[in-house]
Amino acid sequence: MGFSAILVMMPLFLVLYFLVREGASSIDWHFFTQLPKPAGEVGGGMANGIVGSLVLLAMASLIGVPIGVMGGVYLAEYGSDRVNHSIRFLADVLNGVPSIVWGMVVYAVMVASFKTFTFSAYAGGAALGLMMIPLVMRTTEEVLLLVPQSYREAGLALGIARWKIITIIVIKTALKGIITGILVALARVAGETAPLLFTALGNNFWNHNLGQPIAALPLQIFQYAISPYDDWHRQAWAGALVLLLMILGINLLVRLLSRGNSAS
């Protein structure tokens, strides 16, 4: 038993070990504040990638959170058993769609369909947002179903309209769980590279127009890791470490929230 537990933990520690050994030395103030330097020049940072990733996550949330939460509310509160069964099945299929396929779909719809043929932050955000929908939807449904039926009945017995009971009483009761689900979905898509390859594309400079390509941490790591330069390799390790720490931070937030949930 103990041995299996160690085996399970091994990959995590290996990942951390290598990231710290290879990347920690390249993390300094410049890494967070500077743009990438041209190939051959030493130094520079991934400030644009870090900010770009945050922008993409914010845009993804704009799509994934409202649609996902509303879908979850529909499943838990309105849908009939038969309709729900099909929606849940489709959501699970969507969850299993490889992320690069999402990238291709968004590429076809939002990038290649225009005459101007522009990769853009919009497209990248949309690809990540679409991936968030089924994740947010299922967790929202699950936590809403945990809210006892008796609260809904109490509201109905007071002559309160059903949509008010759901939005003001039920969702509020389950709010921590819903937010936890959203954060888990964000953590999941934050490290995605494939759906951004031909949507957001990446950018070595600051993005001043969301209709233009935007940098993202995973893209930058990918680009640097496959380059022939040692300095870029070190930067890629550092970027991976920062990305992992960001995701770790989101997960810690989730733990904090769900602990507060069980205590109340």
Partner: protein, 275 residues
């Protein structure tokens, strides 16, 4: 919209007080009322007149339809999909199942307290009491403040909570939570209060407090209480209805029904021979 306090209360007590005397007009006038859950019939041709401003107890063995009957009085049974009704059910002359009538309107006139206390966990004591008014669009501060105190006093809870109205409703004890739910139901000023085994999860002390409060409620409200505790029915009600297998077997003054029932099935049940 800021309805004056008098506007929210329809002419119930007026209707009830006008015809004082032995033959007061009933609160509920129910005729040939049947109810089905899908193919299963839960109520069979119930005809009963429930008096206004009295406490009416509904007794009967498990599965006799007493809870279903109670829930039909404010259309709460419609929460279960696939129900069907037949017959007429009137409250002070108004058909509660009238065509196009929103059940929410019915439920504002006929409030309900459940078996297990269910204060909203995200709300304070004050918010719990006022939620029905606030979510129905009432914003008038002074009016809400009056309703808060009056409802908590009616539920015999005011003295215990007046100094910490902002604490969570779920921080109260079980009996207090149930009285909080009674205050919440009373705050919307219903004409009738339905209680579905309100004491079955409470200890004897908390139970006696609620029974005492029911005695006071009868001065202003029509109370219908479902109970499986026959001592409770005998102690706290004026009238008692005995249900068995979805039918109303006997309905009479509580004293008479318990001491000299006219139906042998009623007698067998109140003597504890079955159920």
């Amino acid at each position: 919209m800021e309805p004056p306090p008098t506007a929210t209360r329809p002419a119930v007590p007026a209707a009830a007080t006008k015809t004082s005397g032995p033959e007061e007009s009933p609160a509920f006038d129910i005729r040939d009322f049947s109810l089905w859950y899908g193919a299963r019939q839960a109520l069979d041709n119930v005809t009963i007149k429930i008096p206004a401003r009295r406490v009416t107890a509904i007794i009967g063995p498990s599965g006799c339809g007493k809870s279903t009957f109670l829930r039909a009085l404010n259309r709460m049974h419609e929460v279960t999909p696939g129900t069907k009704i037949k017959g007429s059910l009137r409250l002070f002359g108004d058909d509660l199942y009238g065509h196009g009538l929103d059940p929410a309107v019915v439920r504002r006139r006929v409030g309900m307290v459940f078996q297990k206390s269910n204060p909203f966990p995200t709300m304070s004591i004050e918010e719990n009491v006022l939620v029905g008014l606030r979510l129905n669009g009432i914003r008038d501060r002074a009016f809400l403040k009056d309703r808060l105190e009056e409802s908590l006093r009616l539920a015999a809870l005011w003295d215990e909570v007046k100094d910490h109205l902002r604490r969570p409703g779920v921080s109260l004890s079980g009996g207090q939570q149930q009285r909080l739910c009674i205050a919440r139901a009373l705050a919307v000023q219903p004409e009738v209060l339905l209680m579905d085994e309100p004491c079955s999860a409470l200890d004897p002390l908390a139970t006696s407090k609620i029974e005492e409060l029911i005695q006071h409620l009868r001065e202003k409200f029509t109370v219908v209480i479902v109970t499986h505790n026959m001592q409770q029915a005998a102690r706290s009600s004026d009238k008692t209805a005995f249900f068995y297998l979805g039918r109303l077997i006997e309905f009479d003054d509580t004293g008479k029904l318990f001491t000299s029932p006219s139906n042998p099935q009623t007698e067998a049940y109140v003597l504890g021979r079955f159920g």
